[in-house]
């Protein structure tokens, strides 16, 4: 029971290390030897990790599936765009912006911070209303919130340019920056998870009634999770827009919502490791299929699958994973230091 202090600390940070170190390794490899395509795939995956880990902070801990978080990514991304984009065009095309956005351009650091904070504020405002609800009613209202976000941003021409893409956002997100984002997200998620707030939120997930009887406020604990995860997802949005250089409202809508949720569930909705593993697995599989579809040279023969089969395979694979691992690839476990089995029955702690 009484391990040394060093081991105790290692035990605490291990679940983060074990996720972060392999990611670093991949990034180093990509940086040294990868093609543009590979580097960009890795960067994209790291940004997805930020998004999915952000989702996990709320969904995994509260047990409430949120369909609305991609909206916070959108809000942050648009704000970052307004702060940094196209100094020439902005005053003409985005006339509805307040002067401090329309006429000025800000540094990337302050932009990132402010945008993430804006996502947090948005999450706070929405959370104040929606966290009264629980279960399916909460889920569906977050979906409603996403639709509202979309309807507003798609038609608020004077500041978002409607559905059109805005082009010319500075692209500073390299694979290293994305790695930084992913590490930050993972660390934040882990710290939250083991904090008192995280613990209380997870308790409420397992049994709302018993949690109330234990003196826990469902509302405030979930609200904290909601805001924090809104901010992390917002960070994902900021990275996305500065990676791609363009932004449009449709990029922050159902497709991204579905794919990120799918990654989370396939990896394991109830474990931080699951969030990361889900992204890695689905991205790699999609990448392999994409290469197959593009064709593989086998000597003189060129094998390629018909267009569209890739998506069908991916869908089938997701189903298979879910059928054989109901709680996702990671189940409900985190990757912990192996320890000596305890006495008595029951499962090992996650």
């Amino acid at each position: 029971m009484h391990a040394g202090k060093g081991i105790a600390i290692l035990e605490r940070v291990w679940p983060v290390l074990v996720l972060v170190v392999p990611l670093m390794a991949v990034v180093v490899l990509a940086d040294l030897y990868g093609s543009v395509m590979f580097q960009r795939t890795v960067t994209d995956a790291l940004i997805k990790i930020v998004l999915v880990v952000g989702l996990y902070i709320f969904i995994g801990n509260s047990g409430i599936v949120s369909f609305g978080h991609i909206g916070f990514a959108g809000i942050a991304a648009y704000f970052a765009t307004w702060m940094t984009c196209c100094a020439m065009m902005k005053p003409i095309t985005m006339t509805g912006l307040p002067d401090f956005l329309r006429l000025e351009t800000y540094s990337l650091w302050s932009t990132a911070l402010v945008s993430v904070a804006i996502a947090g504020v948005a999450a706070l405002v929405i959370g104040l209303v929606l966290m009264r609800l629980s279960g399916l009613a909460a889920s569906i209202s977050t979906l409603a919130a996403l639709f509202i976000f979309h309807a507003v941003y798609a038609n608020w021409d004077s500041v978002t340019m409607g559905r059109a893409s805005i082009v010319g956002v500075p692209t500073y997100v390299t694979v290293w920056v994305a790695l930084g984002g992913a590490v930050l997200a993972i660390a934040v998620a882990w710290l939250y998870q083991i904090s008192s707030y995280g613990l209380a939120t997870r308790a409420a997930r397992d049994d709302e009634v018993a949690a109330q009887a234990s003196g826990i406020s469902l509302y405030w604990n979930r609200l904290i999770a909601f805001v924090l995860s809104g901010m992390v997802v917002g960070l994902g949005g900021v990275l996305m827009v500065h990676f791609q250089g363009t932004i449009s409202v449709n990029a922050f809508y159902l497709n991204l919502t579905f794919i990120t949720l799918a990654m989370l569930v396939v990896g394991g909705m109830r474990s931080l490791a699951g969030a990361v593993v889900g992204v890695v697995v689905l991205t790699s599989v999609a990448d392999v299929f994409r290469r197959l579809e593009a064709g593989v040279d086998l000597g003189a023969m060129r094998l390629s699958t018909p267009v569209g089969t890739q998506e069908m395979f991916l869908a089938a694979l997701m189903l298979l994973i879910l059928v054989f691992r109901k709680d996702g690839l990671m189940g409900r476990r985190e990757l912990r230091l192996p320890r000596f089995p305890g006495t008595g029955q029951g499962r090992e702690a996650p």
Binding site: I59, V65, V129, L130, R132, L133, S134, L136, A137, I140, S141, L143, A144, A145, F147, I148, A151, V152, A154, N155, V209, F258, L261, A262, V265, V266, M269, P306, V307, G308, T309, E311, M312, L314, A315, A316, M318, L319, L322, V323, K326, D327, G328
Partner: protein, 304 residues
């Protein structure tokens, strides 16, 4: 006044269509906690079944070329088979997963089906002109009601009543609700639970096929995403109606459809683009006021 009545007719017609979709979503949810997004693809595939599967842009009719009774039966059969196949292959093995996993698996099924259609038909919208006669309006008391709207309202009313009676009164219906709630226990009591749950999918297939036909007559177009928005609206409808209550689902469908039409009709021009934002805002308000939905069935609230 007449204009208002006309708007109400439009509103109820759209409400009926969404109510039909919501019934299917609500039924399957009631039976296995599955919010079946693939319901949208049932609708889409039902519609595509009318034409020969081919990449060509101007499709030739397949089932659509049959005499009307056969055509209707054909579409329903296709969709029912599809619903059964998805149940057997994808949803049955996942039966005791939690709702989130089931939901994601239905995304996967939907994604699969969508790309299957794309593979066969290409992603390009197609057109198909059947049921022309049904689209011509009938004048009733100075109101202009397209035949298809009348049909939609009638079909919805009939199916809703039939379904409610089926679930409340028939042994199969009670068994279905029992299996819905506790699958293993139902089996212990001799309920052929697999068959009973498959039955729910058969019904959702019938509803899906009906919606395919109604939509096709109304729009004359085929598109791989044609089922998506109705299903998303129905999803909202089912929740605000009260999960697990079919009448609630239908009511929710009406409410969403009606409010969408009313907003479209009465919002000032500048705000009309934000119509959907208002509809969804309304959804949130309803849920805040009634978190369990409009119709709360007795035991929806768990007793401590």
């Amino acid at each position: 006044m007449r204009n208002f009545l006309q708007v109400m007719v439009d509103a109820i017609a759209l409400g009926s269509l969404l109510a039909l979709v919501a019934l299917a979503i609500g039924l399957v949810f009631g039976v296995m906690r599955l919010i079946n997004f693939a319901q949208g693809d049932y609708i889409t595939i039902g519609a595509y079944a009318l034409v020969v599967p081919a990449a060509s842009l101007t499709p030739t009719l397949l089932i659509g070329a049959l005499p009307i009774p056969l055509m209707v039966a054909g579409v329903l059969l296709v969709v029912v088979m599809l619903a059964l196949a998805t149940e057997r292959v994808a949803f049955r093995p996942l039966r005791d997963s939690d709702p989130a996993t089931l939901l994601i698996s239905s995304f996967a099924v939907s994604y699969f089906l969508q790309h299957m259609i794309m593979l066969v038909h290409t992603g390009r919208p197609k057109s198909i002109g059947i049921g022309q006669a049904l689209t011509t309006p009938i004048e009733v008391l100075g109101l202009r009601v397209p035949g298809i709207q009348v049909v939609t309202m009638g079909v919805t009313a009939v199916l809703l009543i039939a379904l409610v009676l089926f679930l409340k009164r028939t042994p199969m219906g009670i068994q279905m609700r029992a299996a819905a709630e506790n699958f293993q226990m139902a089996r212990l009591l001799g309920v052929p639970a697999n068959r009973v749950i498959a039955m729910a999918f058969v019904i959702s297939g019938l509803l899906g096929g009906t919606v395919s036909l109604l939509l096709i007559v109304q729009t004359g177009t085929l598109d791989i995403r044609m089922g998506l928005m109705p299903v998303i609206f129905a999803f909202f409808a089912t929740v605000i109606g009260g999960m697990g209550s079919l009448v609630g689902a239908a009511l929710g469908g009406f409410l969403v459809g009606v409010s969408s039409v009313l907003l479209q009709s009465y919002l000032p021009e500048g705000l009309r683009p934000f119509r959907d934002a208002f509809v969804f805002g309304l959804v949130i308000v309803i849920l805040l006021v009634r978190p369990k939905g409009l119709i709360v069935i007795g035991a929806a609230r768990e007793r401590v």
